[in-house]
Structures are given as C-alpha cells and as structure tokens.
Amino acid sequence: MQRPLSSFAFAPAVKVKLINAGFHTAADLCDLRPLQLSKESGISQQEAVEVLQTVRHDASQGAGAGSRMTALELLGREQAMGAIVTFCSALDSVLGGGMPVGKTSEVCGAPGVGKTQLCIQLAVDVQIPVCFGGLGGQAVYVDTEGSFMVQRVVDVAKAAVEHCSLLADDAEQREALKVFTVEDILSKLYLFRCHDYVELLAETYLLPDFLSQHPEVRLVVIDSIAFPFRHDFEDLSQRTRLLNGLAQQLAQMANQYNVAVVLTNQMTTKVGNGQSKLVPALGESWGHAATQRLILHWEGEQRALASGTCSLLTMLRLTHLRFRQGTLLSASAPKQTTTRLEDIWLKNNIQLF
C-alpha cells in the first residue's frame, strides 16, 4: 500500500499530474472515486478509472509482486532449473555443468569456427530424455542468416539417438528411447526464419506467447543476433537502444519461462595502435547483455572455447573442441585448465571486452 505512484506503469503525463496534485503513494488513492480523482488531479475520467483499477489490482495481489527471497532460496531455484548437458564432460565443465537454463549466453566467434554447429548440437541435446540426464524439452531456433540446414540437424539427431541407445541399460531408458527417434527430435525443434531486424524484433515480441503455449520449450537459440543489426543502421544510437531493449526482453523471457537463451555473435576487427584485434561485434555496451559470454576461437589448427562472465575476467577455462559427423562433438581438456586472460588474448589477438 505504500508503493510510490512513480513505480507504476502509467503514462508520464499522468504521473506528473498525480504527483503535482499531491498523490505520492498507492494509499493516497485507495479511497477516491474516479470523478473525484479526475477533478483533483486534472486527468481525464478515463485515465482516472484506469489508474484506480491498476492500483487496486496491485493491492489485491498482495506480496506477490514484490516478493522477497533469500539468497539460499535463489540458489536452490537456480539449481532446480538445470542445465543443458552436451554429453561431453570437458565442455560441460567449462560451461559450469552445461548451458544454464534461465539465463542468456552469448557465443562469439569468427566465421567457420562452429557457432551454428554448437547451437544445433544444443537444440538436439535439450531434447535428450530425463532418464539419460537431459532435460527432455523442446527447442526454438530463430535463424536470421539462413544457415540452418536440416541435413545437419538430421546428422546430429542420428548421432544422439545412437549414443543414447548404446547407453540404455534399464527398462525406463529403453521405454524413453521409443519416443526419442530422429523424427521425434525434428518435430520438437521449431524454426523461426527472420530476414531483417524488424522481423527479428517482431518475433521477440511474439515469443512469450509462443512459450506459454509450448511450456516444454527449454532452449531458445538466436543465430545470429549480429547479422541483422550490422547493416542498414544510419543511427547507431538507435541500434544501441534497440539492442538494450532486446537484451532485457530476452533476459526476462529466460527467467520467466525457464528457458536457456543462446545468442550467436560475430567478430569484427578493431584497429588500434597499428595492430588489429578481433572483438565481438555490436559494440561495447552489448558486451554486458548476456550473463555468460563464450568465445570460440582457433588455436592453430584446433578450435578452443573460452568462457568468461563480466565479473570473471581473469578466470577462464579452455577446452578444445572437435566436431564429428557421426558422433556428438567431443572435446579434450588442454594441459592447463585455467589460464590468465592476458596470455590467451595476446597470443590470439582477441579482445573480450
């Protein structure tokens, strides 16, 4: 009841008039009728009706809107959400148990390094039945580049089914295998194709409805988020505002609908001091959009994955990845498991932020 009026989602003009008229908290309004409110504050009657309805609705929700949780409860909730395991222990350990559900992760890398492959792998791995250690969920794939090839998804799905059939020991797992066939996997992967940034934004506004109609979706992949935003923009500040809004919506969606959101980003060259470095595209403010940033890069002939979050700039772990046609991607841990940030980036000419 003490909630200040400025925290409600009213139009700015209405807020200003209410505050000027002396109404500061929800308690000030609860006894008024619409006609009285409209006369005292100078807003129209229609607006007064809406204001009072919102305030009363919020009051009846009780403690629901601003509920409090202890950190222990939050930790429990996070652990209960789970992660998408990739059946490849080195990769899962770099990711901290798998691709986290309920958070946004960003995968950056040069072309050809394997971002789309990793995304397709995750879209199949999220469907692995619970009795095999997976999440048994469905996947949404938003393709902005046109690089989604069903042929490749079929390869990965076949490999996953084969891998699970080799692992099946008990009756429950054998039962689960009956509904884990290549066709089942394909039928639970939803593809949204967007040709430019306006279509991508439209899909983002419609995704919450889709997710509430399909509550089994546990993964949303956007491949790639950089591609539609890197041309056509005269006004870069507009792009930054759109990207900020997008990042917030995706984070909220991940949390509210319990999905892992994975975004793919490109790399661009940044020239400075006579040297050129590779940095993730979309600017520096985008660097803080995702909870976790994974960089796929080349170490000589091998691909390596480094993961870092905003707060852990110096603690990175590396693993080498190999993609195989017939099996799930495999990885090997290199000799050193934690390396100093500066060493890796200097050697490979990459800048994380």
């Binding site: 072309p111 992967l189 505002r241 759109l242 040297q275």
Partner: protein, 363 residues
Amino acid sequence: MDFRQLELNPRIISAAKKANLKSARDILGLSGPDLQRLTRLSMSDVQRLQAAVAVAFRKSPPVTALQLYRGECPDLEPRHRLTLGCPTLDCLMRGGIPLSGITELAGESGAGKTQIGLQLCLSVQYPQVHGGLGSGAVYICTEDAFPIKRLHQLITQQPRLRPDLPTDLLHGLCFSDNIYIEHAADLGVLQTCLSQRVPILLARGLARLVVLDSVAALFRCEFTAEESSKRARHLVALASTLQHLSHSFNAPVLCINQVTDVVEHCDASQFRCGLVESAVLPALGMAWANQLLVRLMMRRLGGVPSLGAGIGAARRLEVVYAPHLPRASCLCHIGEEGVKGVLSPDSAHIVSSHMDLYGKTEV
C-alpha cells in the same frame, strides 16, 4: 498498415496515429522508451501495441524441422541443390551449391574459378530432375572480358561431361541464349545492375543463378588502406543485396574471390580461420567472411601426376566452411569438357582434412 485490423484499445491506436507512425516497420523499429516518448502512452500500453503490430506483421508461422525435412516448406528448405556437373564434386558438397545464401569460391589466378562459374551456368539450365534449376544464369564480369570462346567449347563438350543425360535434352537446349552477361567495372555500375536488371531477370524466371566474377576486383582498387571502414560498409551492403536476391528468388549466388598472401607478423590464427598450412587467404577480410554461407577454395597443385585425361596441373577444391559440410577436399582436373573431380587411386573416399572435424564421408 491498416490500424483497424489490430485488436487494440482505440485510445492506443489514436495515440499511434497522432505520433505519425504509419507502418508496422515504423513501430517495430523503435525501442520501448522511444515509443513511449512519441506516443505518451504507458509502458504496458506500448507493449500491447508492439505485440499487436508484431502479430499483424509476421509473415509466416513457425515450422518444425520435421516439416522442413518432409519438404512441406519448399521456400525455406527446397531439398535439392544446384549440381556442379560432376558427381564427385557433388558428393563433396553433399548435393551441390545451396539455393539460397552466398557461396564463395576463392583461389589464386589460374586456379580454375571461372571454369567452375561457367560450368554452373550450364548445369543450371537442366531440369530439376537432372540437378539443375530449369532456368538461365546471370554472369557479372568485373575484371576481364567474358570468356566466350571457352563457353562455346564447354557447350560443345557437354555430352562428354554429362554422359548420363539424354541426348535429345542436350541438343534441345540452346545454352548460350540463357546466359545473361553483364560487365561492371566499378561499384556504382554493379549496384545499378543488381538493383535493376538482375531482379527483373530473376523475377521473370529467366535466370536462377547469379555469378559475380570477381568480387575482390571492385574493392581492392577503389578503397585505400585508410578507408577500411567505408570499404566494410560497402561490402556488407553488397552482400545484403545479394542475399536478399538469393532468398527472395531461391537463386544460388556464386561470388568468385581473389586471395591475399599471408603476412606473418600481424596475422593471428584467427584471421586464418583454421587454414594453417595455407600460404594465401581469401581476400576482403572478416567483414566479407561474415556474410557467406559457404566458402570454397580452389588451389593449383604443383607436380604433374596425371590421374586421367586432364590438361595441366591438378587442382584441389576444398570446403573451408559450410553449415552442413565437413572440412573436406577433393582433387580435380580441368579438361576440355570442364572441371571434373577425381577420386584418388589409393582410397575410394573423399579425403578429409587430418586437422579436425568430421570423419570420412561415404561416396
């Protein structure tokens, strides 16, 4: 956009109209706070507006991968590719060139890139059952004159390259009638060509392949070293025009690219994109590489072992990256009839690179 079709409170609609927002693109292209400032609506009203406009704007509903696999959405997944004219090369590419997206073929001069371009211009004209698209091709030359003599030689030798095709089909097609040749010496001419003439040809179904030979030639002389960001913008704009054409008409686009030498000290392994043993890299840098769907490289090999009827040194066609292909390569020879892949005598499989990635593909 017709506002009356939207399921919205009339107050929101009138606020949007007052703010001069006429089309769905105007509304969707603005962020939430921007819309709030323009329309003076509350945040929840703005969200309702965005959601309602998005519903009206969405062109096609989501599909499942199973529907794509079964061929129920031919626009998104046509389930066939454009053949390269040789079964071994098609096996390397798992069917041929994808129908939408830019395929790049890079290599040194004399490696055989134009040969592949010409061969595709012929194979596109066959009907779909024989791996073509039943339509013509647009060939845009930016550096040399179009090799008309070589094209005629290829046309006369088609029966040798494609012995599997019925002879009445081969004689019935008038190949040179269906290849439209454009010359573009600078960027401005190329933009005009791509925005005016090529869309007409594609829309009328007269052509379903665009070959740009070569893309590097236009960018390497027009921009100086300091103008690299301007060059990157033009490259991205060109790529987006080509992609738009390719996706709208399901027409493959082949861009031929040159190579640059690798300069050791400033090149990190990142720029090499895994091509560690190579002395040359495809030109135009990361800005262009980010726009491609498939990257192929053609190399001339030293030495002469002739594995069959071939003229000159052997070549190697390598897949550098593609979403659906492993890192594999294939030997090929260029003869009178065109480019033909060769299976090396010791193994019947396509050789995949020892470095990493996939296992061997079955021939």
